[in-house]
């Protein structure tokens, strides 16, 4: 995935949706691809999403209430080729439940390329880093605006695929503005790594996406899409909105 990102020749767009949120959730992935996604983040819903705001909490709860399981989500995408990498994202309890090796192997077998675990900081990540590496899963680590310099370098160093720049002090969710501190974080990261840096959290409008991807190598868009899914928008409509982001990024960059 990382190699592909480096070779993309454009700012990256990584939309997110919660796996198993609707019967036709896989159709949203296809729509994301059609809208110009460079990769797709698929949330494996967890009962206690402590870093997520109300929108993704609601989506997680809704997916779980429909009987969605991580196993089921993996089965849904196994054998499908979207043309872009899939990145799983979930909380560490689901990883620990299977054990890092089995968990990563299952991801790989389902066709996932990457993994994000927001509640797993560098210090606790050793076991999963090793297991992911062994399974050929790229584990992207998170960096935050308050991460001090030496630690930032370590995170960038040990991250795979990209570095997830958590652009604000808060949870996932829609925001009015792109946090000013985020540009500084991206710059600090760029100064210590040549790994792609994706700006995540709070990207709500095409303008946000354009603005954030000036400094960063691209953006991750979650709640703004999930909100629409929860409100009943179909794959085409949500894909249409994502396409406006794609255009704004490509023009603004």
């Amino acid at each position: 995935m990382e190699a592909g990102f480096r070779a993309a020749g454009r700012k990256l767009l990584m939309p997110y949706t919660t796996g198993g949120l609707t019967d036709d959730w896989v159709e949203y992935l296809r729509a994301f691809v059609a809208a110009g996604a460079d990769a797709i983040e698929v949330g494996l819903p967890f009962s206690d999403p402590t870093l997520d705001g109300p929108t993704i909490q609601e989506a997680s709860d809704a997916a779980l209430a429909r009987g969605t399981t991580a196993r089921g989500i993996l089965a849904d995408v196994t054998g499908l080729d979207f043309g872009v990498p899939l990145v799983a994202s979930t909380y560490y309890n689901l990883v620990a439940h299977d054990g890092p090796e089995r968990f990563c192997a299952a991801l790989r077998d389902a066709g996932f390329a990457g993994l994000i675990v927001p509640d797993l900081p560098l210090d606790e990540a050793g076991e999963l880093i090793a297991a992911a590496e062994a399974a050929g899963i790229e584990l992207a680590l998170l960096a935050s605006v308050v991460t001090p310099a030496p630690r930032l370098a370590q995170i960038a160093e040990r991250s795979r695929g990209f570095v997830y720049a958590v652009s604000l002090m808060g949870t996932t969710g829609e925001r009015r503005e792109v946090d000013a501190a985020s540009a500084a974080l991206v710059e600090r990261l760029k100064a210590v790594t040549d790994r792609p840096v994706l700006h995540g959290f709070g990207i709500t409008t095409p303008e946000h996406a354009a603005r954030a991807s000036r400094a960063a190598d691209g953006v991750i868009v979650g709640a703004a899409l999930v909100r629409r899914v929860l409100d009943g928008a179909g794959p085409e409509e949500v894909g249409g909105y994502l396409a406006t982001m794609r255009r704004a990024i490509d023009q603004g960059a």
Partner: protein, 385 residues
Amino acid sequence: MADPGPRGRFGDHGGRYVPEPLVAACDEVAAAFQEAWADAGFRRSLANLLALHVGRPTPLTPAWRLSAELGIDLLLKREDLAHTGSHKINNVLGQALLASRMGRTRLIAETGAGMHGVATATAAALLGLEATVFMGEKDMERQAPNVFRMRVLGAEVVPVRSGSRTLKDATSQAMRHWVGVVDEAYYCVGSVIGPHPYPYMVRELQRVIGDEARGQCAAELPAGVPDFVVACVGGGSNAAGTFAGFVGTPARLVGVEAAGGAGAARGREGVLHGFRSSFLQDGDGQVTEAHSIAPGLDYPGVGPEHAHLRDLGRARYVTVEDGEVVEAAVRLARTEGIVPALESAHAVAWVIRAAASGELPPGASVLLTLSGRGDKDISTLMELL
């Protein structure tokens, strides 16, 4: 009970599973606590508050009539007499002093039964801080008087409407909130749970229970040490504080959980709320909802040190059912004139059962930490009587 080291490990348990934005905040708390705890001035301030404001030491009350009925020698460590009505204040005053020392102006807390929330609101008032308390909507209904108390004390109480609308979700919400306000606010965790250094710090702040009880037992009991030391376990702070005083003695340590919230006795290895420990989960690794008549025990996990003590075999974790708990509460009220918190009544229920079954041999001496008073549970009790 040892220092868990810089990574906060109790055997396999503990650690610090928090999102990157919270790592620095946890580091800062850990460093500040280490420094404060080594500072005699800080310890003196805290000891002073505990004596002058909270009423420590709390007495060790021989439960004369119940002992006679059960054929054992039951001693109650009276945390119900601590200011605000439970042991929670011991921990909160320490953390609130720490927050002040760190220059924070606001305390954040989660609460289940409301006792930790009331204690936090109290400490905030006393030290001139603000307080924001997250509480599950279901718990707000069950423990309405405590919601009022927090508000009278000037705290903001934020209802949590997600998930089971109890302690687990309040904790998640408090952590989410903390991410956004780490610079100004201090997260005052209410039990021996959460990311390092909380499980360690809260145990250290609660060990006053065990240290006092140890001295009191030495004066009271012929053997100097009780045969059994029993405490209820939600997250496990009153038990951890109690056990800390006796882990180096031959006393047998027993943690009593709610049958519907038995993280230690019935949980599986997992990670939640920043720590690795034993949690109730379904076959898919989703954390399940706990169910207990005692909101303070309505938590699906247990502090990491308890998981470790269990693994070591140094402490045993047992469960009691809601029905036994209510009976035990009423029995203690009618034999000793003490209406215990329903949380604390779990420990009483197990002692009653174990004395009847012979698990507690006749004449056994038992130290039981009565973690709180039952005023908050009166309407629950009356509905069931």
